[in-house]
């Protein structure tokens, strides 16, 4: 059963991820992105990482992707401009593809699971442990991310305010 569910969610996630890249219609692509996030959340649930699964849904599928979809619809973005493979893009594309192949190849050839995964619940899966880790081991990253978010928030305020003043001046 677990194997079947894993395959189901894994194939679903990959297909949706491909759909995001392939779809020319921006709305279809955003819907694929949301479904892909839901698939990843399903995989997290199978790993017993409920917290991660639901935080992923809450933040990305519930808020960020909604904003994407919303803006795509509001601006009525159409996939008119086609991204041809030329010049620097070609090189970058090939390099990225080669890196991906190298990564997969190294995992497939050299990667091995040294020991069977521990039976006990992983650190961070339980809410209390997770919170404890955030306030001790990962305190600095949390603070830095908080600071980054604050800066971006201030940036948004400044940008939107500027726009308003310019319009008033007109």
């Amino acid at each position: 059963m677990a194997q079947f569910l894993f395959l189901l969610f894994a194939i679903f996630t990959v297909l949706c991820a491909v759909g995001v890249v392939v779809n020319k219609n921006a709305v279809n692509a955003s819907i694929c992105l949301i479904l892909c996030l839901v698939g990843v959340a399903g995989l997290f649930v199978q790993l017993d990482a409920y917290l991660l699964a639901f935080v992923l849904l809450l933040v990305y599928a519930g808020a960020v992707a909604a904003l994407f979809l919303f803006i795509v619809m509001l601006l009525d973005v159409q996939g008119k401009e086609s991204f041809g493979l030329r010049g620097f893009r070609t090189i970058a594309g090939f390099v990225a593809f080669a890196l991906l192949l190298a990564g997969i190849g190294s995992v497939a050839l050299k990667g091995q699971i040294v020991s069977s995964p521990p039976v006990s619940v992983a650190e961070g899966a339980q809410l209390k442990l997770y919170a404890y880790q955030l306030f001790t081991t990962y305190l600095l990253p949390v603070q830095i991310i908080g600071f980054l978010l604050l800066i971006s928030m201030l940036g948004v305020i400044v940008l939107s305010k500027k726009h308003e003043i310019a319009e008033d001046a007109k």
Binding site: M1, V27, I34, Y50, L51, F54, V55, L57, L58, A61, G62, A63, A66, L69, F70, M73, L74, Q126, L127, K128, L129, A131
Partner: protein, 386 residues
Amino acid sequence: MFDFYFEIPLVIRLILQGLAVIMVIFPIAGACSMAERKIAAWIQDRPGPNRAVVPWVAWIPFIGKFLQRLGVFHVMADGGKMLFKEDSLPGHVNKFYFVLAPIVAMIPALTTVVAVPFGAYFDTAGKLIPLGLAPFDIGMLAVFAVSSLGVYSAILAGWASNSKYPFLGSVRASAQLISYELSMTLAVLPVFLWVNAPGTEGTMGFARVVEFQSQPGFLGGMWFGFLMPISAFIFLVALFAETNRQPFDTVESESDLVGSFHTEYGAFKWGLFFVAEYSHMIVGSGVFMLLFGGGWNPLPWVSLATAVEFLGTFLPFAHAPLFVGILSIAIFMGKVLAMIFFFMWVRWTLPRFRYDQVMKIGWQKLLPLSIANLLFYAIAIALIQK
């Protein structure tokens, strides 16, 4: 007695349990639409729906007439009408997303029930076991996460309808839902700060919250609605906004947006939007009652255990797990239905806010209030629990 049930494979058992819950939620959501019309009539001092009747029921003296006047058969008449009406598909819509939107509305509405416990019983050791589909320890987060997906139905429906008013409605819907989610999340944090006292196992589950409200003593038995009235108030206001109920009905305001995102919908697809709205109300009321209304405890300072003990003095079967389970579910459902009545009562009491007022209340009043509330309780809880 029920051993045969536990011999069924787990997967099938879980599917059966899920279906059982859906089979309760779905008819209640349908009945709520009826109750809405009847309560509206009652508040406006008019008879309301009182015509539809099944012939063979009409033959029963008194009772038949009474049921007809009560309007209970209008539910069936409405449902039948929605099913058999022509399911028109306007020519100018994006067909795929137009059909998808009502389905997307239903999925989060019915999925949130998974994390909400709706009753409890005592096992042989006297330990309280909550009844629910999935006893997560992150119940609250799960409800927030899944219900936040509900915004897509409004966005998709409004966009796919390819017409002006539905699109305006969906723009309002997404802005309103995202705005009030913030205050709602901040409003429940004091509850979980208080529940996760030092030394306890950390949890975001509802069962623990109810357990905390059924302790002995003055402070222990106090429902969180009394202990944290501002949190409860913010949560309630945000709940009205999240479920698009009046006075936060700007999303659907008939007077300026025709019918908003479901303007172009008809027949059963339209019905699905309504069932989804009522399911959201039922789950939202359930969450409110679990967090601030004592869950399955019958009265403030009277826990389920006390009530069962009292009933045990004259009922021999009062301690049976089956009886306790049914009793707790009945108490909880009673509270949820009372809450839904409150929703309908408010609808006919307060006028609809203008859209700019909705945004102003959300961002300039509710959000600062909820942050101040969180700070106050964080300090107070830190001082009390040391």
